[in-house]
Symmetry: C2
Subunit: 241 residues, 2 copies
């Protein structure tokens, strides 16, 4: 896009809303969401601060925009495919994406107006479940459950002090030492006996829980519009695998 036409002077638009938002994501990825200021953003774009305001109305709009941009990175499930596979694929993708952009989760809380990618995403998941034969009611239940789990897991993951480079041990060890076995005995026991064992990866828990949820959703008890109140332990009937 260099030798377009015209003369020596180049006045092609350097910016665009798209480019502004992508740059904002890059800045946030690199230095955290706090490092994303209008000035740092504009500098990464090679323009002066106020120039970005030609493409976005406010910083809040940038924040809304990058949340939606992150959502657009999540793989959509394909309606019609084997629903467990599709749902698992999108859940895995969501987790991966949210790990790549940890700041996005914190933003989700404050941004209440969903963007187009977010809506498209919801639509695709609903379509997958409905096409697989879920009733509207069960779809609502399942969607709330799956999304809660996925986002919640991501939330916990980014809340962990380490960032994937090392195992839990490297960071947890010094913390654990401080209250050796006095104050939080069970926590310390679990940590030393399990979390801090070599090879443990918290991320692996994701698949375990997701499988449990998917299996439970295929159970007759789930389809049978369970009621939250009265059923405690009348179970054992719910197995088929």
């Amino acid at each position: 896009m260099s030798e377009r036409s015209d003369d020596n002077r180049e006045e092609r638009p350097r910016l665009s809303r798209e480019r502004v938002l992508r740059a904002a994501v890059a800045v946030a990825d690199a230095g955290g969401i706090d490092s994303l200021t209008i000035r740092s953003l504009s500098q990464s774009l090679g323009v002066k601060p106020m120039s970005v305001y030609y493409y976005v109305a406010s910083k809040d709009e940038i924040l809304d925009g990058i949340v939606d941009l992150v959502f657009s990175e999540i793989e959509l499930p394909t309606a019609g495919g084997e629903w467990r596979t599709e749902i698992r694929r999108r859940a895995d993708s969501a987790r991966r994406v949210l790990r790549a952009h940890p700041w996005a989760i914190g933003l989700m809380e404050s941004r209440t107006s969903p963007g187009p990618a977010t809506l498209r995403h919801h639509d695709a998941v609903i379509a997958t479940l409905r096409t697989a034969g879920f009733s509207p009611e069960l779809t609502a239940h399942a969607y709330a459950l799956l999304d809660s789990y996925t986002y919640g897991f991501a939330l916990q993951e980014v809340g962990l002090p380490f960032d994937g480079s090392d195992t839990v041990a490297d960071v947890a060890e010094p913390i654990m030492e401080r209250f050796s076995t006095g104050e939080y005995p069970h926590l310390v026991e679990m940590a030393t006996d399990y979390y801090l064992q070599p090879g443990y990866d918290f991320g692996d828990e994701f698949a375990w829980g997701l499988n449990l949820i998917l299996d439970a959703l295929t159970t007759p008890a789930a389809s049978a519009t369970r009621h939250p109140s009265a059923d405690r332990d009348r179970e054992g009937s719910a197995r088929q695998e």
Copy 2:
């Protein structure tokens, strides 16, 4: 500089770290986390801005502190009781607390150093599960699952545009109209046929999903250290029982 001040000024400590943090929670509850500034906080305490810095080192420390304060509001499960009841109680409590302090979820992402209340909380939950006979492995699985679900649900709940005062319909209706049935057919269908029906309360989904998880955890398949059936599996994971 100025001549003098009041003579009968009593100089007993008006503040304390505790009071500062509680006031910070109150300010955040009232006007959102953005409204919590050193100046607004100090004003609500009746002192000048810099005075609060005698009790906290920085605003970040305040944020860490109020997150832990919120955690301390969550009911602890009692180890030894019927574990489903205890876990349900603490999950319900967590959801209630996080709804009362919606800003806390957004903070959890950025605050990586857990406070004493947070640790005590973890300890109590682990104790409950272990006492109920869960193996360390299953405890880890179950805890990750339950926490992910609980926080994730809360995250979704506070992300909703309405704040509990009204039904979903009031806020979703105008949004839905904009793309009547064109772009997001399944989403619109679900919304009109289900979410927007009178009497629907998203919060009710919480109990449904929680029951499904609790039931699934009592299933033999869960206890039997399930493996991601059709997934890439890690080698060397501890297996016992």
